[in-house]
Symmetry: D3
Subunit: 295 residues, 6 copies
């Protein structure tokens, strides 16, 4: 079997996975899982290709983060691959997501979900609330996503946070950071609810004081970034944040209380220069290291 061992040495052992994170079928530590679904996307589809694009773009990144002075190879991370989702309406997909995230949590993994469209987050939050009834969800997003169903779809991408609010119920809590687009009624609710924050690290920091000790879930709709920084998304909205603002927001969040995160709405077909995929991959790396950190 000399030929075999010789051959194995010549092959690379990457395949399709996030950077140097090993593929595994068993959750362990931070557990990446892709959800290639964009079935309710009303304008320009394509986020179904998001998870693979994030993995492919990660090859241009280092494993070390100068911002957090840490290397994620120090901690435990696996890449579970993608859920095998059906096409068509959202409900069966949300059910699968809820089940899969529930299983990851049962096996003491920390889910880090790569989307796919934002409707998916409802399924994740539903699974996490079952374990963490006092969950605090921090939404980083351009859009309010507070419609109560959209074009006949209960779990629409435009209803993502309405469904999360349903799941959080009385015990949970939502902070909506950076929202800059929606209907008049959505903004009226945002203003009255006290859930709306500008994309400011100072303001997020002071609001987080109210929720000390509670488990935190971060849902990152990448369209919070300005289209200059992140053109590759279905509904770009001018006036968004840059990378430095995102890094500052992340610094305010205590990583040791994070019980999951997601990175949503990359549509790589619209990302002609490839920079959006790279940004999504870097955001994923920073979230991994943040969760691994003690603060």
């Amino acid at each position: 079997m000399e030929a075999l061992s010789e051959l194995e040495q010549l092959l690379d052992h990457h395949g399709s996975r996030f950077l140097e994170v090993p593929r595994s079928k068993t959750p362990s530590g931070i557990s990446l899982v892709g959800v290639p679904y964009d079935g309710t996307t009303s304008y320009r589809p394509g986020t179904r290709f998001g998870p693979e694009a994030i993995r492919a773009a990660s090859i241009g990144l280092e494993t070390y983060s100068p911002e957090q002075d840490a290397d994620y190879t120090d901690g435990e991370v696996v890449d579970l691959g993608n859920l095998d989702v059906p096409y068509g309406g959202a409900t069966p997909v949300i059910n699968q997501v809820r089940e899969a995230v529930g299983a990851i949590v049962d096996l003491d993994g920390i889910p880090l979900v790569l989307g796919g469209e934002h409707s998916i987050t409802a399924g994740i939050v539903e699974a996490l609330v079952a374990r963490y009834p006092d969950l605090l969800v921090i939404q980083l997003d351009a859009h309010a996503d507070l419609r109560d169903g959209y074009l006949g779809e209960h779990y629409s991408h435009a209803s993502a946070m309405r469904r999360c609010l349903d799941a959080l119920g009385e015990g949970g809590q939502l902070l909506q950071v950076g929202i800059r687009s929606g209907e008049r009624a959505e903004f009226q609710e945002l203003r009255e609810s006290g859930r709306w924050l500008p994309a400011s690290a100072e303001q997020l920091h002071s609001r987080l004081d109210e929720f000390s000790g509670r488990p935190i879930y971060v849902t990152l709709d990448l369209d919070i970034f300005d289209p200059a920084y992140f053109p590759g998304t279905g509904t770009p909205e001018p006036g968004g944040i840059d990378w430095a603002t995102f890094a500052a927001l992340l610094r305010t969040i205590p990583g040791d209380r994070m019980v999951g995160a997601d990175v949503m709405e990359l549509a790589p077909q619209l990302d002609t220069s490839g920079v959006s995929s790279v940004l999504a991959a870097k955001a994923t790396r920073e979230l991994i290291i943040k969760i691994q950190s003690q603060g």
Copy 2:
């Protein structure tokens, strides 16, 4: 009101419509209608933008066809615009298509549907069979589309012809021209059924003899063209036809017996050079003139 009439003379009166075909809300003669739906597309979506791309590309074409020596401005044609379809599963969309095509036929219009994905054709054929029980459907396509449901969707794009066969029942008939991709079982059925023809004008001509006098519906899945000629589609399949072959196939079909047609599966986001939209627009023009012709 001199200013008003002066202004009206300065404005163009095109708007978004096929070439010089007037927009109208009332069917009259050949009645174009777009169906911007791609909800069951399993690989690369985007045909929802097909109808508008066909209209936009038509501006580079003449209204006169040298191949048929006729100008479609000689006959009656209107552009009804697009159906206002929901997202998600296919069934409600198919229902709308069936209803709309039924209404067009009731008003003595001849439907020419611009897709959108191929699943839509089932709704059109269901409406036409109600009027023309002995309908002959000529499918120009790369894919067999004979799966009985796909990924849990009854009206899937991969089941388009299975659903048409359901609708045609005993009285109707299907000819499947140019099919070059499918599962082993689909090709076994194709071979045994006698419905399968190569993309040959001679063979189509001789088969049409069997069905003399019957009303004809032509469903054109544009991926029958080789990807060289038509790159802008979700599932390109090498080995397809060129324009001359399409023109020859069309010549064999008696236009005065055509009771409708469709032009499906243009995904303009994948058509980086724009030539697919132009081809789809030219195919639409040729179908219009063919229906207007007396032979």
Copy 3:
């Protein structure tokens, strides 16, 4: 006629227009009109496709502006479509623009012109000065556009502001905001004239005090934005503004004194990711709501 009314309910009623603004042939309130002309563009042409791209991209936007807390469906707006301009030299186009804008003003409409290249603005300003001799023109732009003719063309895109100065004469006034490119002679004139301002809301605000009560026209050459935010233009110039700066500039302008505006120099063929068209559409929305506002 049941079939007819049923069919009408199934059709969408959008067509090609800005968001939910109705198409009309009669000016009424704010009156959008496109001028698809790029005949004097010396480097990379394509702004002739700007008006349609702005309309198409508007579908991804809301009608409500959180920045101004207003919805433009509250006011009167119509979309007149495009002028039917000839190709070749600029003079006949400018004549048409002058005539059309004159007619809109005569009918008490407020023109909001979608370009097309910047040379067009001369025709608009000529028409407005006839009605408002003390017009103040606020130019938001990267380029000085002060050449006295360029490559043999009197109404060149490089002469747009020279021609506006001609039209404004003694009574009118020009402020040139954000200019960062030109010949040495142009910048000498900018510095000496007192017309040059940095892209600063504070400085614009304080300069506007000098002109209280005068009618205002805003000409927005979209290349004032940095190419990061607005790549889709013929002559991108690094060092421009971001969306927040534009929004701040707009806040300083009293909307109730605005008698017109334009949005120029979108070249959608160069906008491979589509974000430039979205930005242009959002700028158009904000200008509409600004004009509708009382301050």
Copy 4:
């Protein structure tokens, strides 16, 4: 000056020119000259970038033609660079072209013009007819180009052959090969005039017998190629020729009687894959070698 000679050896000596053809300001043998003009283009502009794209793409080609078994470095060829044309209307450009081609002919050069839009050909033919009153022009094209002016422009790209017919007068002659798009009136003229040939080497060969001994000019509108082979053009028209057909047509033309040629209508911005520029460069190489040949 050792450093200088050392440096010169390290530099490449290509610059921007066609393959290994030297840049020169003096015509000598076959004389390439670019005309970067697209001012009357009514649909999608960009052929102004054609000449440089042909030069840039030539780097991927060999100087040797297997089809003609000859290498163009065997003969005399220079690249004069581009004419310095104004923007706007066509007339001053046509005047420049006529003057420049006249000068090349006076200096015993053979003009090979790289476009730019097809209107330019009128200026070339006007200059050549002055020297060769019995000139035979062979047009390879998709479009008839027989309109008598278009959108108010005498020398429009849509009138290119109408203007050539004017120049040829009684003594000259035109053959229109491969035309497949035009208005009804243009095709009526084509059919009646006897000038229209299909893109068939056999038919071109037999027609050429009628004009034995006469000087020949070949005007190649690259849109004669099918858009599959040549997507990079403003008005692609499905149904065109492939490379083998072009090579066969070229074989029928006696190169020793050719007194000039042009290669028109490459719009490289629309050529996203770059294959159109390569085809245009290869066609240019084959024309050079054809003119150099003795048959």
Copy 5:
């Protein structure tokens, strides 16, 4: 461990591999291996991304081939992933390729190599000749590749066949099919050697008679296809074959004598519409099934 098994059922088990071919580290039957190397590419690089693009595009294909009426899931196929090649000069890469292919052959695998640039083929042929001294190499290609080194590189992509000839020595044999570009000296050698064939199934069939019973290696440089069918390659050469011609050539080759094959020169960055990757994937599928066949 219920959660675990539940989760495994939700995950897809594809990852990055060719269609439904399982990833494996051990050769078994037909053994796919990628070589992501383009270090000597002199014009437009990017074939290093070829192997992954072929795998990604395979998702749009069926496993069944109507042309060969066979499904490759019937036979034994594995995907070994990619060699982990260094950058820079070709020699160390060729050494790795020779070693890896040697190991595959030692383990009774049949190598099917996905490139990468054509220089790689020399390493494959060197390994195969050690086992099969009477090897017949059938080159399907646009370029002669007979330069003896190029730009100082012994194993250059322009020398691929010169190096194969070295390896084949007296015992082996080369047939060069479809060559249409090269220097004069290369074509002189092609004509004199008797190795040159047009891309004609008839001629290939009759030449194969001379070599009955000998083991066959097929090296497919995808640029044998016309750029219309295969734009995604560094040095496109107009005048190539279409899919039907490739299929006909393949039919003439006895699959049961094939001891390996390669699919080279896909540069997916240049393949803006994605059709080249699909064609490369379909060619790979057809080669797999051909090798599995008994004729």
Copy 6:
């Protein structure tokens, strides 16, 4: 020779060169030279096309800089064209670069090198240190480039600054500005060495005080810019600078002490909108004028 002089007046005299800088084979004043090399690029290649893209994009710029209030046509500048570099490993290329820059310096030219990949800078610095042993190198970059060889290549792009440090030895000095990506070990060295500065004009200004009077070389790796501003590069890294920050950094550098500069890592194939090439050209213009200035 009237025809000749007439013709010369009609031709433009630009060719391929930077803006209005004349092509020359003899260095004189600031001497631009391109190095089209990307042989060690490990991820996405294409910087070999950088020099020509910078020249082509310069046509959209003015020769006058408002920021520096100077026009570079006031000083002496020539464009030497490109080095004729081999492919494959870096060492022979670095040798050529060292030789060429040495020759330029010997002839009292000031080298301004257009890349190509960053490894090239080592050759330039080696040549300059021979003349200026106390050289201060200011690196503007996203990546530390401090690996000691990478993938077996001594002069790798990932080792560019390691090799510069070798060349600078004891007498020279390096400042590394804006670095935001690297391995843990590289950042440990950055922090300990005192060579690392944030991209802050204030901090650069204060550090420059330490090195008063010493000759300065500026190496600009364009990926210091955020990918929003500069998408066209092989390894984009989110979190970079904008144009205003670059301009501020440049203002702190005394131009009269600059003995050379480079502009590296533009990969125009990845720059789908063209804005990266324009930014690179504007940075080149600003560097020229900075060197020409007295402060």
